[in-house]
């Protein structure tokens, strides 16, 4: 039984000082339900994706909390947490239930409220996504490990750092006219180089900023014009330093191979991609593991000015994590909503031509868990 996106909705990604986590979730859900033409009564199950609510907001038990906010009582509601892959894994769980026909319509809500705390709490919060005993408790942070990987990549592949920075330039360019994007303004390689280091040699403008936002999907096995043709998840060794190849995201590769098989297609059939660019270097490693470039050659692909909306392979069509913004637990749900917007033809100024097949990649931490979805316009290929 096919699984469809029946409706989607999202809030702007920014600092929402006057809105709570519940307010944001409600706003996104009302839009998704209206588009689907359904009310809360038609929803069989609610799946909430949130990564850091306990730490950032002192809020837990988010399945029942958000269900109550929506006025949907007497239905099952769960919350999933998988670090920065929470959104991807929430959609994956909904997909499995709809395939298994244990539900007909599931509401998936990704929400994260990050701006209520001071910046140093954000670094602590992100550190929850890496191993406690062998990494964060000895002084490692997400950004520091991304910087270590970046330096290793520059050394091993003799890559120009400027080419890796271009991924952020592409994302900002694609966000210019995206109404919900956190940073709808252009940046250049020079701007990035002039931004301070967050962790040498990784610059501030190569990583994401704290953001508030919520995105919602009504997924259904009854009807819809955009189909989720693949949903696949895979893990890797939890501490990246144990991996045989420190510059290879095996979880992305395994999930991608499975997703391509499920949809009976290859990477060359994909029209556009939403990467999990938590940093420029992670985006480059993802390009390689998805098969969009040879291993070690992602930086060379970026040298050729790929990724822009009007290019052969648009990447991050509303700005991706870098420029649309990265409300962590909501991000993976935004990706599916944005791919749906492209396939429904609702992408406005960001609409890409002949958008038929899109891929979303949601990555937890440094590739400890990766989730891939491929969406297709019904009747299109």
């Amino acid at each position: 039984m096919p699984v469809y996106v029946r409706g989607y909705g999202f809030t702007d990604v920014r600092e929402h000082w006057n809105k709570s986590m519940e307010d944001l979730a409600l706003e996104a859900c009302i839009k998704a339900l209206e588009m689907a033409g359904l009310s809360g009564k038609n929803i069989d199950k609610i799946i909430v994706s949130n990564a850091l609510g306990e730490y950032l907001n002192h809020k837990g038990h988010l399945g029942a909390l958000i269900a109550d906010t929506l006025g949907i009582i007497n239905k099952p509601a769960i919350r999933v947490e998988a670090a920065s892959a929470s959104g991807g894994i929430a959609v994956h769980q909904a997909f499995l239930e709809l395939k298994g026909e244990t539900a007909r319509n599931i509401l998936v809500i990704g929400v994260e409220k990050m701006a209520d705390v001071l910046p140093n709490s954000i670094y602590t919060a992100r550190s929850l996504m890496i191993d406690r005993e062998y990494l964060s408790s000895i002084g490692a942070t997400m950004e520091a490990l991304e910087a270590i990987i970046l330096r290793l990549y520059l050394e091993k592949y003799k890559a120009e750092h400027e080419n890796i920075m271009k991924l952020a330039v592409v994302s900002h360019s694609n966000a210019l006219r995206a109404k919900h994007a956190q940073f709808p303004r252009p940046i250049t390689v020079d701007t990035i180089k002039r931004s301070p280091y967050v962790a040498d040699p990784l610059h501030f403008f190569e990583v994401t900023a704290p953001a508030d936002g919520a995105a919602a999907l009504v997924l259904s096995n009854e009807t819809g014009s955009v189909e989720i043709v693949s949903s696949s998840a895979s893990t890797d060794r939890f501490r990246f330093f144990e991996r045989d190849d420190l510059l290879w995201l095996e979880s992305v590769y395994m999930a991608a191979q499975d997703a391509y098989n499920q949809a009976k297609l290859t990477h060359s059939d994909i029209d556009f991609v939403e990467l999990h660019d938590s940093s420029t270097i992670m985006g480059v490693l993802e390009i390689e593991a998805l098969g969009l470039s040879e291993k070690g050659a992602g930086h060379k692909l970026l040298e050729k000015d790929i990724g822009f909306l009007n290019s052969e392979m648009p990447i991050n069509t509303f700005g991706g994590l870098k420029a649309r913004g990265d409300p962590i637990g909501a991000t993976g749900v935004y990706q599916i909503a944005e791919i749906s917007a492209q396939l429904f033809g609702h992408a406005g100024d960001n609409q890409i031509d002949n958008a038929k097949t899109g891929l979303a990649l949601s990555v937890g931490g440094l590739g400890e868990l990766s989730v891939i979805h491929i969406l297709k316009k019904k009747g299109g290929f």
Binding site: N120, Y123, E133, S136, A140, I148, L152, E155, D200, R239
Partner: protein, 136 residues
């Protein structure tokens, strides 16, 4: 988090003060951190082994925006280190200026202060590395 988590530290005291790896007695695979189940052959027959105390820097960074526990120590150098027995780990590198840092730098393991747990909590110590001057 400036919470006190003494039991966490106490459980791991051996690991933080004298890190050990584990080796599978059935297939010989070596692991750090130590594992209880061998990834390669599935055996539960593993025993601890002592890691080399010297190695070289594979990559490094400067942590300028640490988590709250480390806020008063930044900036500090964090390295990805390959020990002479092939084990890789991440640790802070002390007694070094940023200008001296380079890939391939020889380092040796020491015990140094990690951080203090709040106002009244314990002082935690952990393995760090310093330049191995004799081999410079």
């Amino acid at each position: 988090m400036s919470r006190e988590m003494v039991p966490e530290y106490w459980r791991n005291r051996e690991m933080y003060l004298r890190p050990m790896g584990s080796v599978c007695k059935d297939c010989g695979s070596k692991y750090f951190p130590p594992r209880k189940i061998c990834l390669k052959c599935g055996s539960k027959n593993l025993e601890k082994y002592e890691l080399s105390e010297k190695g070289r820097v594979l990559s490094w960074t400067v942590v300028r925006y640490p988590s709250e526990e480390f806020s008063k120590y930044s900036p500090y150098v964090l390295g990805l280190i390959e020990l002479d027995d092939g084990t890789r780990l991440v640790a802070q590198i002390s007694d070094v200026s940023i200008d001296e840092m380079h890939i391939g730098m020889r380092v040796k393991m020491m015990i140094r202060r990690a951080f203090e747990e709040g106002e009244s909590g314990i002082i935690r110590y952990v393995y760090k590395f310093v330049p191995d001057i004799k081999e410079k």
